[in-house]
Amino acid sequence: MISKTQRLEVTLQTLLESVDLAENIVVGVAEAAGFAGEDVHKIGMAVREGVVNAYNYGNQQDQTKKISIAVEFDPDKMVIRILDEGPGFELNEVPDCLAEENLMRTSGRGLFLMRAFMDDFKVRRNPAGGAELVMVKNLPAVGSRNGSSQPK
């Protein structure tokens, strides 16, 4: 059972394989916390999109830069933070991927999907540099959690 005071921190290299690795790690944590089914899928996808964002746009595929991921639990939610070492960005400056003129673009949907899959999503400029994506998923009600989070 995940203690509600637990925090997991992972530092990944800016490599393509870090995307799958990050997703698999956070999916494992989410399942241990009691998430199941589509919630796990959505959390995994949001993390994937966040790390792809850090890899491609934040760190510009620069292998000398790192991607930091932190997962922590409040009493009723799972908070995931993904930090890159790039210049940072403002969410309101990102083109709307649902706008007619942007529908046929081949990129630009990652942030939208993160917002769609998580219960809350913010972008912060890290004071020390980089963009920090902060995404929140509310923990499932105790009765609907998967068996792994039940007290033994």
């Binding site: 393509l16 995307v19 899928h41 996808m45 994937r48 999109e49 792809v52 991927c97 649902l98 529908l103 046929m104 673009r105 081949t106 990129s107 630009g108 949907r109 990652g110 939208f112 999907l113 769609a116």
Partner: protein
């Protein structure tokens, strides 16, 4: 599972049966390569069967959009069939469900291509 695609011809339609994930990296690269090869070979009616694709990320969606544009630029048609619920939902929320011609089954898809009797 990395994306795999096998192509078969049904009349003048190239049907590509995909399985695996369409994601950043190998998966999206395979999709891109197969579509380009089909167009270079002269195929103008292409049907993507996604029955065994249960995972697509934003890069995969971008590659699908690129595939659509590539085929349309060659005066061809690209259609989709057998979407899994997850792929269907992602195309819906990104407003791409109405852009792609999504067919209910292969027979309907075949009839829907231009010039098909």
């Amino acid at each position: 599972m990395a994306l795999q695609g096998t192509c078969r011809e049904v009349g003048d339609v190239a049907v590509v049966d995909f399985s695996g994930k369409i994601t950043l990296g190998e998966g999206s690269a395979i999709l891109r390569k197969m579509i380009r090869e089909l167009v270079e070979q002269g195929h103008r009616k292409i049907l993507l069967d996604l029955a065994d694709v249960d995972y697509i990320d934003s890069s995969g969606i971008g590659e699908m959009v690129a595939a659509y544009t590539t085929v349309r630029s060659a005066q061809g048609e690209l259609k989709l069939v057998h979407l899994t619920r997850r792929v269907h939902d992602i195309l819906q929320i990104t407003r791409l469900y109405t852009v792609f011609d999504v067919q209910g089954d292969e027979a309907s898809a075949m009839r829907s291509f231009r010039g098909t009797v």
